[in-house]
């Protein structure tokens, strides 16, 4: 017999995996930004590096926010 706790656990697991996959995508975007910044600097183009760096920090902020959210989720009874 599936109890409400069981369903809640399963739901949490789904949310967790969703957050995890999203964090993974954001991390891949950050890696891409890093490589693009490196390529542009080597090519002598420095016009976009500040914006790319700021955007990378924004993605980091989202990742930290999601990590905090996941911790809150796991503490919920």
């Amino acid at each position: 017999m599936n109890t409400p706790q069981f369903h809640r656990r399963r739901q949490k697991a789904v949310v967790f995996v969703g957050f995890l996959l999203f964090a993974l995508i954001l991390f891949l975007i950050q890696l891409w930004l890093f490589v693009m910044v490196l390529e542009n600097i080597l090519a002598g183009k420095t016009g976009m590096v500040i914006q790319a760096s700021a955007f990378s920090f924004l993605l980091l902020g989202i990742n930290i926010w999601m990590l905090a959210g996941v911790k809150r989720l796991m503490k919920m009874q």
Binding site: L42, A43, I64
Partner: protein
């Protein structure tokens, strides 16, 4: 079959080290922070002005030798260091190292679609006359710029801005 396998390869699952999803998430966030800091470090590096190298000043030519929209090849600071002096169509003088940063072919001054460029005929590379940055083609770095001064009716090379290679 399964019991036999467990007998042959006994694994103590209790002592084994699992990486939980939460730990993986933490690691991912940490790695994300590392990449963000790395990107910021690169951006900070890019803001550092390029080093200027002082060489002994040398006369290139007189101002009358170059008409607007023309170029002159010269060597600076050593005889084998090929450079190119360009008098842009607006009358401004600029000078760059002449070796393409791709495979060292000599670049030429060209006007294409009303845009002034330093063009490398070997692999269709092109550099901007503003700062030597790569405009098209395979060159991986900008052309190092040669500092010039107009002294009366003469043009002098006074130093070079170090390129990225």
């Amino acid at each position: 079959m399964n019991d036999k396998l467990k007998e042959d390869f006994p694994i103590d699952w209790e002592d084994d080290h699992f990486v939980t999803r939460r730990e993986f998430f933490k690691f991912l966030t940490l790695a994300s922070g590392g990449v963000a800091v790395g990107t910021a470090a690169l951006a900070a590096y890019a803001q550092i002005p390029r080093e200027e190298i002082k060489f002994e000043a040398a006369k290139i030519c007189s101002t009358e030798d170059l008409k607007p929209g023309s170029a002159l090849a010269f060597s600076y600071p050593r005889p084998g260091d090929l450079c190119i002096l360009v008098r842009k169509q607006d009358g401004e003088y600029v000078a760059f190292k002449r070796r393409c940063t791709h495979l060292s072919c000599p670049v030429e001054y060209e006007v294409k679609n009303e845009r002034e460029l330093l063009y490398c005929p070997c692999h269709n590379g092109a550099f901007s006359l503003e700062d030597g940055s790569v405009v098209q083609g395979p060159p991986p770095h900008p052309l190092p710029q040669v500092k010039i001064e107009v002294r009366g009716s003469e043009i002098w090379a006074t130093g070079a801005i170090k390129g990225d290679h």
